[in-house]
Symmetry: C2
């Protein structure tokens, strides 16, 4: 799949765009870059001149505390735009890294900005993406602050399964999920050992299994009920044209 196709698929999933808008998007400059596992793509403090779209693999945003502790903020699948905020915020307040091996494509900011001036509808579609991003952050605040360990894990799995399914990453109930238990802990604000024990408890419900870098969903209804998962916050309904 061409890099711009990934982006177009993502935008048109909820924002109706005209054919000439799409053609314009497809003509954007797109510099591919391959990342090895754990490679940083951008660093806190950087001032990027381009924004990246995930083409393949998993990316993650994270904060690094003074203590050296890492806090993952979000996970990103193909089509996601993990540093869109660089368009309007000069300095990165967090870093972005690859989780497994990944491919991204970078689009220069000037091109995007002039496209947005020329075609507000495209700007609005990308703006909406950044707002959905924010909605996912809100949910993460609630998940990490209010939910007990088992539903917290379940909710993370629900969200990633739901988002992955939409872009066709799920085959027969199985989603490649290249995080280890330490990273899940750094995502959910839990210690490694707690992740391990609570995964074990979660397994008892036979709704989901997580091992060998794979997430296997046996019973979606059960899993989403354990995780109190309501996909409204992902805002995937098709919007009226604006």
């Amino acid at each position: 799949m061409a890099p711009s196709d990934v982006l177009i698929q993502k935008l048109t999933r909820h924002s109706p765009l005209a054919a000439d808008d799409l053609a314009r998007v497809a003509r954007l400059t797109c510099v591919l870059r391959e990342l090895v596992p754990n490679e940083d793509f951008i660093h806190q403090g950087d001032r990027p001149r381009a924004s990246a779209i995930v083409v393949e693999g998993f990316l993650a945003r994270y904060h690094m505390l003074a203590s050296g502790k890492r806090q993952y903020l979000s996970l990103h699948l193909p089509g996601d735009w993990p540093d869109a905020q660089g368009l309007f915020l000069e300095e990165m307040d967090h870093s972005v890294c690859a989780i497994g091996p990944a491919v991204v494509c970078a689009i220069p900011h000037e091109e995007l900005l002039s496209l947005f001036r020329e075609r507000p509808t495209i700007a609005f579609a990308v703006w909406r993406e950044t707002l959905i991003d924010a909605s996912i952050f809100r949910e993460a605040i609630t998940n990490n602050s209010s939910r007990d360990p088992v539903p917290r894990l379940a909710h993370l799995f629900c969200e990633m399964y739901f988002r992955a399914k939409q872009i066709g990453l799920v085959k027969a109930g199985v989603l490649p999920f290249p995080l280890n238990q330490t990273q899940i802990g750094e995502m959910l604000g839990m210690a490694l050992v707690s992740v391990n024990r609570n995964l074990k408890r979660l397994r008892k419900y036979s709704a989901v299994d997580f091992k060998g870098g794979q997430l296997i969903v046996h019973d979606w209804n059960k899993l989403s009920s354990i995780g109190e998962f309501d996909p409204t916050y992902l805002h995937q309904a098709v919007q009226a044209e604006r």
Copy 2:
């Protein structure tokens, strides 16, 4: 201060806007509404046709869990735009309420959207606001998930003090702060009793005091060091024109 002044002050703090852009903003329809403490302004599930700007007082966003537990997501001061996402996301994924008494003004979406089409620079300035909003959410994830209780409290106080100071809400080191300890707990993912005990510990450092609905900062350097506060994520540097 006129409602639109509050907005203009906020946008021009980091986005240079031309005089005629500002004049255009000042002409927006603006319906004022007064809120009593704890009154909900919008509800999860609503489909707003207008976006609100805080004119006076404190507003907060929150999630409500099935258990009835409340999770506050963000606090908003005059000039903030706590439901800007309603412009592009049809359904509210959270609620917005007043903390103390507050005044908001609502601007119809159609007016904003046609203004944005007409003047992309204004759109970009508002977009930037929504991106800063997202950056604050990221910081909240890290604060609630990674920091111990005392620095967690300190960080919240730092952020609110810093933001309030910028809009002239701080007089002689004192900021009106109408949250009670229960609400601080619902903000930071802590039980009421823990908030109380850790406020006590924090007080021992003589950097800050919180009582009687007021936040009193005695020693900003000490407070920000306890809270590991680095204001970069608030993105308040003036940006180059785009």
